[in-house]
Every structure is written in C-alpha cells, then in structure tokens.
C-alpha cells in the first residue's frame, strides 16, 4: 500500500445482524480494491451488491466486520481523512431548515474551513450546479433535482481531494444529468480522484477510467472500460463503393455477413480480416473505415452478473 493511494481495501467483509445464534446477512465478502489519485473509479452492481455498504465503511458510516480499509493511508473510521473527502450520498436529506447557501456554509465549516473562505467559494459552486437563483430559498422548498444539485455542491464545498458520489444523477432530468457529468469531467481534469457508485451504466462508461463490478458482496470483475468490454468478434467495414458482389468478394471469410448501405459487418478473426482487406483492395474498393465491435458496458455487466449467478 503506497501513501499515494486514495482508497485501499483488502479482504473487507461486513455482516449485518449477525449474533450468537444468528448467521446474519453478509453484505461484503472479501472485497479488495485500490484507487489511485487522479482517476475516476466506477463501482457497479445490481441492488444489494454491497456498493453502498463499501462506501459507508470507507466514510465511517458503517463498521467493517473484518479486513482492512484505509483512506489516504489512514484507517477508516477516524475523522481526519474524511476532511479530504467530499461525499454525496444516495437519497440524501439536507437540513430542511437551512437555505442552499447556508447548507454549503455549514458543511464547509464542518470540514474545518474558515467561514470567510467558504463564503468566497459558495458563489462559484452555486454557479457550477446552476443554483445561484435559488440559493437563499429553504431546502424544504427545493425539488428533488435541486436538492441533488445542492447535495453535489456541498460535497465539493471544501475542495476535497477525493469525491465519492453515490448515484449522483438519481432523480435528475437528462439536462441536469449531462451537467453533472460535465462537473465530474471538470473535476477529473482538475486532478481530483472520483469514486462513482451508480447503476446508470452509460454514465459510468462515459466518465470512468476503471470499473469494479460487484454482486452479492463480492467483486466479480474489475478493470478499465476497455478490459471490461471485450470485442464481440464482429467487424464493421465502411466501403466506397459498396460492390454488388460483396458476398462473392469476401466468400469464405468469416461468417454472418450483413450488408448495409455504407458497407458491411461480419464475424471474423484477425487473419480473416487481413484477408478481407486485401481482397477488397484488390477489387478496387476503398476502405473508409474499419471498426472491431465491442460489447457496451451494459452488455458486459449483465453478462458478467448472469454468468456469476449461474
């Protein structure tokens, strides 16, 4: 474990409701992950996979049963490392008796920042989440989307090094969702480490560098997006012109050839693709594009989970 590691978890287990005569429910079962600085880390899994439990243990909201978990090289459960973390919980409830601006001031100060420093930072954050106009209204008057945006702002108010977002786009309309995605990418560009817990796979696919898939308290797969989304074996060729006798030109190469307006798609291995390119070029056909088809994250996720359950 290096001191530069933001999150380090080894063989972490968590059992709820266990006792002398009760077996309890095992929410985490030997989970190990490592998150380095400056990356966007995605945690995926179906409901009940243990994602939120993992996050809560990292933030001291729940107690581990066994294993080791550290934030910034310090054991979780202590207050100090949490000062360097911004957290947006799933289905959070902000203090209803405060205005959006007061929420930011309160949580900024609670993270040890001076009030003047916080007040100077509040306008920019309100602008970032598009809440400037409603900043002085009480939280109880906010819609769910507005609460989500102020929730995101409070997670960033103290300029944390690590931002943990649990279902950040939950309850937010598509425009707001895109805005939040932009915020995450801005944070990434600013060198912040981001840990996203979500079941909206497209969000994760678009912003995450590295992803862990969990199911039933265990990690079933982890890696980069590239690693998690393997090639399907199909190749798409963009051709000009598309010859009428394309089936004849590519006869004997690959299978499941599907012809389209701009080219074709077929199932082929690397050697067959090389031969196909050669034959097309020999036939005087220009190859404008060639793309090896991959699974999307959703397909990879479902396939992984289903395989695991089987």
């Amino acid at each position: 474990m290096t001191s530069a590691t933001m999150i380090e978890v080894r063989d972490l287990t968590k059992t709820y409701g266990g006792g002398l005569f009760k077996k309890g429910y095992r929410a985490l079962d030997g989970v190990s992950i490592s998150v380095g600085p400056g990356s966007v880390f995605g945690l995926l899994g179906p409901n009940g996979a243990g994602k939120t439990t993992l996050v809560k243990i990292l933030l001291g909201l729940a107690h581990k049963s066994s294993g080791d978990a550290q934030l910034f090289g310090e054991p979780v459960g202590t207050a100090e490392p949490r000062a360097r973390v911004g957290y947006l919980p799933e289905a959070h409830r902000l203090p209803l008796y405060l205005s959006g601006r007061q929420v930011l001031e309160l949580f900024g100060q609670m993270c040890g920042r001076d009030l003047d420093w916080v007040k100077a930072r509040v306008p920019a954050l309100l602008e970032l989440v598009d809440m400037t106009g409603a900043a002085d209204r009480k939280v109880r008057e906010y819609s769910k989307g507005m609460q989500q945006r102020i929730g995101l702002a409070q997670a960033l108010i103290h300029d944390p090094e690590l931002v943990i977002l649990d279902e950040p786009t939950d309850g937010v309309d598509p425009v707001g969702r895109a805005a939040i995605r932009e915020v995450v990418l801005d944070l990434k560009r600013a060198g912040k480490t981001i840990f996203i817990n979500s079941h909206l796979l497209m969000e994760v696919e678009l912003v995450c560098d590295r992803v862990v898939i969990m199911d039933k308290g265990r990690i079933v797969k982890q890696g980069t997006i590239q690693e998690l989304t393997p090639r399907t074996g199909r190749v798409r060729l963009e051709l000009s012109p598309v010859p009428a006798n394309l089936e004849h030109v590519l006869a004997g190469l690959g299978s499941n050839l599907v012809k389209s307006e701009h080219g074709c798609e077929l199932q082929a291995n690397d050697n067959e693709i090389d031969q196909a390119v050669d034959r097309l070029r020999a036939a005087g056909i220009s190859i404008r594009g060639l793309e090896a088809r991959r699974m999307n994250l959703e397909q990879a996720f479902i396939e992984t989970v289903m395989r695991e359950r089987a």
Binding site: A79, P81, A83, L98, M110
Partner: protein, 501 residues
Amino acid sequence: MNSNVTRALFRDAFAQVVDNRVFRILLVILCVLVLPTFLIGARPDHLTVLFFWNFPYDEIFGFFGTAVSTVENPDRVLVQAVQKILTDGLAGSFGIMFGIAATAFFVPRMLEKGAADIVFSKPVSRFALLLTRYFAGLIFAGVLATTMIGGMHLGFLLVSGWSDPGFLWSIPILIYVFAVMHAVSVLVGVMTRSSVAAMLVTLVFFLFNGGLHQAWHVSQRMRGESRVVQSEPEESEEPQDGESRDDDEHSTFATVAIFAFDTAHFVLPKTTEADFIARSTRLRLERRGYEFWDRETNFFVAEPPEGFTREAGADIDGGGLVWSDTAEPNAARIVLARKPVLDAGTRMGASKKWHEALQTEPQVVDATREKDFRHDLRAYVVRWTRQDEGAAGRRHARWFFEDGAWLYTFDVESDLAWVAKDENVGRAERYRHRLNFGEESVGNEIRFDVGSSAGAVTGVDKRYGWDAELKYNYFFSIGSTLAFIVVVLLLARWKLARIDF
C-alpha cells in the same frame, strides 16, 4: 474539533431551534403572557393600566367579596402570585412537557437515513454532533425561559416598580430540569431513532421521576415525624396532622422496598429538589436584609417588632434573641429561643410541664395554658403574671411551637403599666400578618414567618442546604443529577458509536 467546526455546529443548532414551528408558537404565547406585566402595574393600593388608568384594589376585588385592605403589601402578593403561577405552574410543568415534545425529534431526525449519511460523513465525531443536538434543546429551553421570566421581571420592574432578583434564578433552574429530560430524550432517540418514542418515554420519565421524588420526600417527613412522636408522645388532645408511626421492625419485603426506593431516589436526577434550590436561593437573596435568618433551618424573623431594638450578642440557641422596647428597655422585652425537640420535648409536653411548674410558684397568678392554632403555626401558649416583678407586676406570655426538629419558645413580657398605655396597644396593628402574639398580653405583635408560611420551604425541605447531610445536600443533589446527565449522554454516545447507517 477546531473552532470553525464548533461555530458551525452551534450556528446549526440555533438555526434548527429558530426554524422550529413549536418554538415560535411557544415564543409568541410567552410574549402574550409577559405583555400584561408591561401594561398593568401593581401599586400598593391600586392597579395602573397603561400608565394612566388607576383602579383601587377594593374596587376590583370587592366585586368578588374580597377585602384587599386587610392584605399587607397587596402589590407584592399580586406580583409574587403571578410569578409563582407562571413559573412553577406553567413553566415548571407544562413548559417542560411542551419542551420535551417539541425537541424530541432533534436526534431521531439527524439519525434518519439520508440525513445521517451526509452529516456523519463529515470529519466531526458522532458524539460532537449528538452534543450539538443536545445543546440545541438547551438553547430552545433557555430562550423560552429567559423570555418568560426575564420579560416578566423587566415588566414588573419598569411598570410596577417591583424587583425580585431571586426570581431570575428560575431561569437556570428550568434549564437545569430540562437538561435532565432532554438527555433522556436524546438517549431514547439514539436507541430507537423514533421521535414518538423519545417524546413518550421522556414524558413518562418526567412524571415518574417527579412522582418518585415527591413520594420520597413525603416518606422522609413521615419517618422523621414518626421518630419525634415515638420519642415523646403528645396528649390525646393534640390533633393528628396525618402523621403515621413506623414500626421499628419492618418486614424483609418492606426493608427491600425502602432500600429500592431510597436507591432510586439517590440514582435518579433530583428534579424535584431543583425547585427547593431555586426557592432557597431566592429566599437567600430576599432574606439577606431580614432581622434574623437561620440558614440551616430556614427559620427567620422578617422584621423586628416596631419600637423594639435587638440586643447585641444574643443567640437563638443560647439565651435566645432578645428585643427590648427602644424607649423603655426594661419595661418590655421579647425573647425568641429554641432547643432540639429531642431535648426539650414537644410543644405540648414542654408547655404542659412549664404550666405545671408555674402553678407551684406563689408569686405567679392567672397562669393559663391553651392552644393557639389560629394561624399557620400551631402553638401552645402559656400566660401568667408575676406579682413580684416591676412596680405593679409583670405580664408574661410564652408560645411553644415546633419547626422541624426544633422546639421554639417565644416569650413576651412587659410591665403591667406598659401594657396599659394606648400607644403600645396601637403598635400591634402594624405587625398583624400571620401570627398574632400578644394580642391580649403586651399589646404587641411581631411579624414572624417560618419557612412554610412564606410558601417557600416546608417540612423536609428545611433539612436541605448547601452544608446539610448528604441526602439533603444541594451539592449532592446537583452533583448526582449532573452525573445522571453525563451517564445518560455517555450511554447515548456508546450506542451511537455502534450504529451502522
């Protein structure tokens, strides 16, 4: 926890209180209750409304058939009655219960899913967050108590010209009582995470705890009185005041029950005694200027008899407090003395013995003994005349009465010539208050209040004090109550530290 965090938490606590709808409603109600003290002034013989209209007491209360002119200091009586009703009756019971109901949600709401996640993920300890919710409750009670009691004090001071600084002690005492109940509410809130459970359990505890201590005080008084009765039984003519005798030999069950009862009293917060402390403190401030005040027993003489001067060096436990007529020191004197009941006997036994002794003396005539139960203080009075004293003889009267563990004697003696003077007869009326000593003897009265007649401390209460034995000691009372609060909050801390949100 740095100062930024502390400030933020207190600001948050205050914001939560101010936003509380029940708090705002109570604040308005209290302002409405306090407002009349600014609009209506109580003066010695009339009420003043809006600084302009005057209404004599007899006109107002005469309608109800009450002769206010017979009441000494009606403005004081009125002001103190209002203070007592609003402080003891309203704030001390209903106010505390409203406070419990209005603040019961502070902790459970913080522990709700979603709210807890966001708050407890901050770099602040769980216990610090719990304490801010606890202090939010104290702010709630403090603002309301200060508004009511401080507002009333200001109103009475500005409009009625009446200031009773001791009354302001009710503010910390109310907060003190509420601090106990709110600690219980916090603990139940952490244990159950339910506002309803926190409210109901705390209300039940408030009533149970108050009832238990009241019962303990009654039991202590009964045990104390029983011991005195057993030491010297009074005659059958003595009316029984509801005393009961303890059997010397308790059954095992009774012994265990009494032990459990005492233990519960010692362990649980002594909220009932907070009332004693408030009153004692109030009295201490009030009685600093009194003619005589014994702090140990709370026995006092508010004013000296008019025209009498107290002799220096006198001691109530020695030769007694002695007052002599200022103009004719040898013509009339008053002596107030006391001895422990266990040594001197009861009022009945001692007065009887004294009367019998007088009857054997040849120079004593007209010796009589009778009950004097006309006022709050129950006494036996022995009257006699000694023919061998003074020019034409000297008239004596001695009252025997008990106050707690003490037997008091109140002697009035004067030359017969002094008694016959018109101006001496007239002096009596000035001191007519609760006791009427000497109406028939020396034509003199003394204003003579024991604790109970002042409505302050009764029975067992008089045994209480800052230097009393442990079970009646205010330091122990406050210390054990604060310890209870600390233990309850530490239990809440222990539970909170183990919660998985």
